[in-house]
Symmetry: C2
Subunit: 219 residues, 2 copies
């Protein structure tokens, strides 16, 4: 069990709290595409990613999606345990974007520790502030940035996450990340293609000219 | 000094922490329109509203505004002390919307207490979660709701806050709350007026038919 190496404030926990955590952990392996947490209907628990990639998004009544943050190795997800903090009045859905190894920490166990431990409560605060900053960045993007900038930024970010310029991703998925429509994204990508910045083929977007995309993003 | 009555977890503080807080408080009276906190350039401290009304907003590079939350009597503002929590990576501006009586709690004093006190850290967590929920509501509004619904919702909210249907507010101010442009708001309000739901006059929007506005908001 290498959980302690993944939990940043392990050494600040009491021995009793360490035992309660270890005794309640649920290790999970989920396939790409699995919905791990679904709104506030369940209180899944906190998710600590060992390896893989998760996406948190919100859904409109019409089924449109927008990604609010993504989680990578060693990241922890708080909002899958929103029952733990009364003032959290919103629902997120968490989906595995890659095959993912993770631990589920039951919400009641974590809460029991957090209520008594200043280090755990302060760590939780930092965690929430990180996600809050992600969402504030998102608000700035959707309020002040035009869609061409957002698509360029997304492609560059994705290439950096994947470590390749050949992205296996559909226009639909890009639309769901950005809260847009597939048709709108297709039109934008075709424009990028016409300008020689990307090449489109079935299920793939290949970045040909990063500088051009960076210029659009930073304009 | 009636600060203890306004600070919800006063009784959970140690005597020492209580003394440190009381000894460092800065009572302030600010006029409507005063900018109390300006981005991350200063770390003003936490603001506890005794009476009055504050508005937190973000600014685009072009100077456009959008309100992210409002604070009323007994509300506390955390993000005017963002230096206190490392992971807060965004900047808000805080403006008095009415003449306001408040206390400034210096960030270093509050942080010193929070680091050691589980109740204070957990309270801070709830506070952040409340604002986070406000901002998630905002994301849903700007992503999924058309502007007519947002203007109708804003007018109804404002009437409820002010306790009157005769709102002393300019089109520019409504635009700044909603992250829109004055011209766009004027067009929308004229449409509402044509439908008999509001009456417009210089610096005033009078709600004539709440039911109509509610129908638009809830459609």
């Amino acid at each position: 069990m290498d959980f302690p190496h993944y939990f940043p404030i392990w050494n600040k926990l009491s021995g009793d709290a360490q035992n309660r955590l270890l005794g309640s952990l649920i290790p999970k392996k989920v396939k790409k595409g699995t919905i791990i947490h679904n709104g506030s209907t369940d209180c899944t628990g906190l998710l600590l990613v060992k390896s893989g990639q998760l996406r948190a998004y919100i859904l409109s009544e019409e089924g449109r999606e927008i990604t609010i943050y993504r989680l990578f190795d060693r990241d922890m997800c708080l909002f899958s345990a929103s029952c733990m903090i009364h003032s959290i009045q919103f629902e997120v859905t968490i989906e595995a974007q890659k095959d993912t190894d993770l631990w589920v920490i039951p919400a009641d166990i974590y809460q029991g520790i957090m209520v008594q431990s200043a280090p755990v409560a302060n760590y939780t605060n930092e965690l929430m502030a990180t996600r809050f900053s992600d969402v504030m960045w998102l608000v700035e993007q959707i309020m002040w940035k035009s869609l061409d900038k957002r698509v360029a930024a997304f492609l560059l970010e994705e290439a950096s996450i994947e470590g390749t310029d050949e992205l296996k991703i559909t226009h639909e998925i890009i639309a769901n990340h950005l809260g847009s429509h597939r048709e709108v994204i297709t039109r934008m990508l075709r424009y990028f293609q016409k300008e020689g910045m990307v090449r489109l083929s079935r299920g793939t977007v290949t970045l040909l000219e990063r500088t051009g995309l960076e210029q659009i993003r930073d304009a």
